[in-house]
Amino acid sequence: MQCIRKFKDGVMKHLLFGIGVSNIIIIFLIFLFILSNGIKFFNSYSVTDFIFGKKWISLSELYGLLPLLVGSFWVVIVALLIAVPIGILTAIYIAEYASPKVKTFMKIIIETMSAIPSVVLGFIGLYVLSGPIKEMFNLTSGLTALTGGIMLAFMAIPTIVSIADDSLEALDKSYKEASLALGANSVETIFNVLLPAAFPGIFAGVMLGFGRIIGETLTVLMITGNSPILATSPLSPVRTLTATIAAEMGEVVQGSTHYYALFTIGIVLFIISFITNCIAEKFIQKAREL
């Protein structure tokens, strides 16, 4: 009996080790499969044409990355310009002003926001938001980077709020008390003392919000207009990196240059998300050390 128990304990220890390590294998496999397929693209297409190419027209075998980068850029800029200020101020409200009851209520609301599937936001953008945008700016179509950015801001706000709120709540009470004792009012305390002290955490939240925006697929696929052009303003229809994969993978011939080109976009996205996460993680560590 004793023996069996000890044996079971030992087996589980090794099994758990194996399971822990297999996480490394999974991410290695993801990287391997995206990379190996993506690299094959460069057998038949030059790297410089890909990176600096100004046109993405799959029918003419033109696979230039720039229009897709520009598309993603506009969507990200719009979304961040809306989500960062609103997200941080909302976090300040939750952390500093809200009563416990309101706090719980706000947190449930914010969680509910993050639970809305992206296809639902795409639907709302398509049938509710695009009409007013079209009329307001007198456009031929309401499907623009702006429309996508607004819906994505909605998606990034919960991420930014919850992480910024956590880092504000984690601050030592003495910061606030010292500032108030010196005669600063609550707003001065927030902007001069609390925000700078919580900056690493807030910045990490913004980075993770950025990660969500750049990686979001369905919403942008449905409402950014799907046209891979070098857009000069957010009022133009665009196509993002993610939307290109989603829109074209369905009809592509497996093993063709076009097929591999989509995996190459995958590599680009993978690299962007890897860098974003590493930066965010670094700032989260910094916030914990405070």
Binding site: F17, I26, I27, Y93, T104, I116, V187, T217, Q254, S273
Partner: protein, 281 residues
């Protein structure tokens, strides 16, 4: 340094409150819109019939069933694997290079865009392992996507368990594994459960990872095994709102309503468990 007169401070304070209001109003508008347009479109036949007339009539039964299959498959794959990884990281792993690499991979798994999971699932499960476009491929893809959230939730809830619980159990002669299964895991259950529910709710609403791994455009019958293709609610909503011309609005808002009710109720359940548990403490 930023110094204010009292009146301006009051103004800024109010501004913060107004902005907060602005950030939460859209969610009420969206939910309101979905309820207002969706409820009249729901009927028993809409929920239990097959789509017909090129998806312009009938119901969404196969999409509901498909979503349930995929969700169940995702749970089967991600929950044991994710919870056990969390247990390993907290209870067994020492702080060495390997552990740091595992932590780094989990952080990066969490940040990978969902469409990349779709590409990966297609390349590995659908093509390389030849599972084809099936519930199995889709569940594996969604399961891997859910891992980081479940691992992190497990890790955080295990770390929150006080040390003396472990010590008491070990002192009574229980082995480490017995301590974990009989003492630690039950105590950490609410936190783990919340993480599981939240990640599963996200998986149920995802479209990008299943587009090329699990779903079919239109399937007027139900799946029989894990090797079959399915229809799924999020992809169905995408298809009928963008690919099918002259789609009746009621059909779309009904589908939208069902999808949102499923994902939000999962989520409220998770929130309920968490706040109930927190208030008990």
């Amino acid at each position: 340094m930023f110094i204010l007169k009292k009146s301006k401070a009051k103004f800024l304070e109010n501004l913060i409150k107004i902005i907060t209001l602005i950030s939460v109003i859209p969610i009420f508008l969206i939910i309101g819109y979905i309820l207002y347009t969706g409820i009249p479109a729901i009927s028993w036949s809409f929920l239990t019939e097959m789509p017909s007339d090129g998806m312009r009539a009938g119901g969404i039964f196969p999409a509901i069933v498909g979503t349930l299959w995929l969700t169940l498959g995702t749970i089967i794959i991600s929950v044991p694997f994710g919870v056990l990884t969390g247990v390993y990281l907290v209870e067994y792993a020492k702080d060495n290079l390997l552990t740091r690499i595992i932590n780094l991979t989990i952080i990066n798994l969490a940040g990978i865009p969902s469409i990349i999971y779709g590409l990966f699932g297609m390349a590995l499960f659908v093509i390389f392992l030849n599972f084809d476009v099936s519930i199995l491929s889709g569940s594996l893809t969604l399961g891997i996507m859910c891992l980081p959230v479940i691992i992190t939730a497990t890790r955080e809830s295990l770390l929150a368990i006080p040390k003396h619980l472990r010590e008491a159990s070990l002192a009574l002669g229980a082995t480490k594994w017995e301590t974990i299964t009989k003492v630690i895991l039950p105590a950490a259950m609410p936190g783990i459960l919340t993480g599981v529910i939240l990640s599963i709710s996200r998986a149920a609403g995802e479209t990008a990872p299943i587009m090329f791994t699990a779903v079919a455009f239109y399937l007027p019958f139900l799946p029989l095994t894990y090797w079959d293709q399915v229809m799924a609610l999020p992809y169905h909503l995408y298809v009928i709102s963008t690919q099918v011309p002259n789609m009746p609005a009621a059909y779309m808002s009904g589908t939208l309503f069902v999808l949102v009710v499923i994902t939000i109720s999962f989520n409220l359940l998770g929130a309920f468990i968490r706040y109930r548990f927190n208030s008990q403490k």
